[in-house]
């Protein structure tokens, strides 16, 4: 019994308050697309395993549905323009699903 109490005493408090400090550097969080660098080649759309990325066929636009993303990082690895990068943002909660959908107009001409 005494041993147990001693262990508890030694350990102290381990619970931390939200929001915590930043996630680890390698952490793959919300993706970010730099519209200026993107040429609209849609390689990322093809590689995404969860269908989080799509493009509309009538204009140069990439749609990111953050709630579908599984944070695998394939899009960032495969974008030759380095237009997509993984950030370590981990707080993605939203009241409305629409808030998680980003429609990004890109400057590329290759789309359509």
């Amino acid at each position: 019994m005494f041993e147990i109490l001693r262990k508890i005493w030694q350990t102290g408090t381990v619970t931390k308050r939200q929001p915590l400090a930043e996630a680890a550097g390698k952490y793959r969080g919300k993706i970010e697309l730099d519209a200026a660098k993107c040429n609209g080649c849609r390689d990322c759309v093809g590689i995404c395993p969860s269908g989080a990325l799509s493009g509309s066929s009538d204009r140069p636009q990439i749609i990111i549905e953050h709630h579908k993303c599984v944070f695998c990082g394939s899009c960032a690895d495969n974008c030759e323009q380095r237009a997509i990068k993984m950030t370590n943002q981990c707080y993605l909660e939203a009241k409305d699903k629409q808030d998680l959908i980003a429609r990004i107009e890109v400057s590329g001409e290759k789309c359509g």
Partner: protein
């Protein structure tokens, strides 16, 4: 030379079957395939299991009507002593979709045969249990989702499910679930109890069936990897490695040594965070909050280490087909040693506290006994098997990654009770730490991945890994253009769940959560 002797061994093993074998091919270094007529199934399988000590590894039903003109059943048996698999293949004609059941002779085949009826409509004649398994009773009887010509969605009908009826008036029926008070996944348990003592337990699972096998059909292999990674919440890496190995084996590529070593390192990290967390969680079975909290705290440390190493707390997104997606820097490898030495010291204390606690010992010892015989009959794997004295460990028996290069003891206990499973986990934590140490010392430098060449359509291959819960096995048939044609996932939970209800009778009702925790099986990777 070695190959030749192995071939001889296998030939000798199969000798008694003689003319029953239509053809026998060595399809890979570790795998022989024999084709037989379906009428010989019980005889052949029973011979392999009951006389030659084979172990039912997985069973796959496949709809190959398009390119072969019939359904095919594959029974894969593992021969641990000679590091070899023997696959019994038999064709089932569409016009006569039945085959003789082997479940009476080989009880481990029970679920597989019921599943193949549910999903492909191939009926095992003489199977003692004709109820549906995977698809519950509200699914129409003539719709088979794994057939290639299946057209969904289907209209559900009224439930035709039945449960055990007790005749004596003294038996109280206690239904629990499928929704539970805790955060565990859905499963329905029905106890027949007399007073406090459980007489009989029936478990109904497959509430979380997501149809992963069906939905991965036609996916490009590179994308299917991400599905494989999400079969199970906690054994993510084992599933990813098993799938990657299946693809690598189909493509016949050899991985660079660094990739193999790093896979071993990560796989052991996965075992560590699971086992330590589970040891803490088992304390919940007897309400020992200190144990739960400390287990959770150590697990958190390990998961933060995972996050630093690969960017994901459950080690997702690090495996690539042909190796790894990114390398680990020397500084990161050093941080592994640092964190682990801290965790080890704390872990030793935790175990000591639990094992010196009288109530803990009293609740764990002689509770939920799984006998060696039951474990062997049901082909139980992983911690549960080893706690009952069944020495199976696929890391030793069919080494993959760098398990051939590291030395580790296989933890073995004989009691088969909750305490034995606890002790096996403790011993495995120790041997994981040992293995990680060896990996870090021996870690070679060099490339971390090789490209996967085009794979011939309809190549079949298997991948396996010892996940924290036991071995997982992925059976894959590659289709045209590097897609998945058929994917059969057999997780450790699938092998072990049928054993759980056997261990409960004779114990009191409040012991069930403890017994269930000591097996620590997932629902979703069983249900897929």
């Amino acid at each position: 030379m070695i190959q030749l002797t192995k071939k001889q061994v296998v030939t000798r093993l199969l000798q008694a079957l003689g003319k029953k074998i239509v053809s026998s091919t060595l399809i890979r270094e570790h795998e022989t395939e024999i084709v037989i007529e379906k009428t010989y199934l019980p005889e052949v399988c029973s011979y392999l299991v009951n006389e030659k000590q084979g172990r039912l590894f997985t069973m796959v039903g496949n709809d190959e009507r398009q390119h072969l003109g019939s359904f095919v059943l594959y029974y894969v048996f593992s021969f641990d002593q000679i590091d070899h698999f023997i696959t019994v293949k038999t064709l089932i004609d569409e016009a006569d979709p039945v085959f003789p059941s082997i479940s009476v002779q080989v009880p481990a085949a029970n679920w597989y045969e019921r599943e193949v009826k549910d999903l492909l409509g191939l009926r095992a004649l003489g199977h003692p249990d004709r109820r549906p398994l995977v698809l519950h009773g509200d699914w129409p009887e003539d719709q088979y989702p794994l057939r290639k010509d299946f057209q969904g969605p289907v209209a559900r009908q009224s439930d035709r499910e039945t449960t055990m009826q007790y005749e004596g008036r003294d038996v109280t029926e206690i239904p629990v679930g499928p929704i539970h008070a805790g955060i565990i996944e859905p499963g329905h348990f029905r106890f027949g109890a007399v007073g406090d003592t459980v007489l009989h337990l029936e478990a109904k699972l497959f509430y979380t069936h997501r149809g992963i096998e069906k939905s991965s059909e036609g996916l490009p292999l590179s994308k299917a990897l991400f599905t494989a990674e999400r079969i199970c919440g906690v054994c993510a890496l084992s599933h990813a490695v098993a799938f990657a190995q299946a693809v690598e084996s189909a493509a016949q590529v050899t991985l660079p040594p660094r990739a193999l070593y790093l896979r071993t390192l990560l796989l052991e990290l996965e075992r560590l965070y699971n086992h330590i967390g589970d040891i803490g969680n088992m304390c919940a079975g007897f309400g020992f909050a200190v144990g739960i909290s400390h287990g959770a705290r150590l697990r958190e440390q390990l998961q933060q280490l995972n996050e630093q190493l690969v960017g994901h707390r459950f080690l997702r997104g690090v495996i690539a087909l042909g190796g790894l997606r990114f390398d680990l820097a020397p500084a990161e490898i050093r941080s592994v040693s640092d964190v682990l030495s801290q965790v080890e010291a704390d872990f030793d204390q935790l175990v000591e506290i639990i094992l010196s606690h009288e109530i803990a010992m009293d609740r764990m010892a002689t509770t939920g006994v799984l006998s060696l015989e039951q474990a062997v009959d049901l082909a139980v794997v992983g911690v549960a098997a080893r706690a009952s004295g069944h020495s199976v460990d696929i890391r030793r028996d069919h080494p993959y990654a760098a398990y051939r290069q590291v030395e580790f003891p296989v933890a073995l206990q004989t009691a088969g009770d909750v305490l034995a499973r606890f002790n096996v986990r403790v011993a495995e934590v120790k041997s994981s730490l040992l293995m990680i140490q060896q990996v870090i010392e021996q870690l070679p430098s060099g490339a971390i991945a090789v490209p996967i060449p085009a794979i011939k359509p309809y190549t079949q291959a298997m991948g396996w890994a010892e996940s924290p819960r036991g071995e997982v096995c992925h059976w894959l048939m590659v289709g045209p253009e590097q897609t998945v044609f058929r994917y059969r996932i057999r997780s450790a939970a699938y092998s072990n769940w049928p054993a759980v209800p056997l261990t409960v009778p004779g114990n009191i009702v409040p012991d069930f959560p403890l017994i269930n925790k000591s097996f620590e099986l997932c629902y979703s990777c069983c249900d897929r």
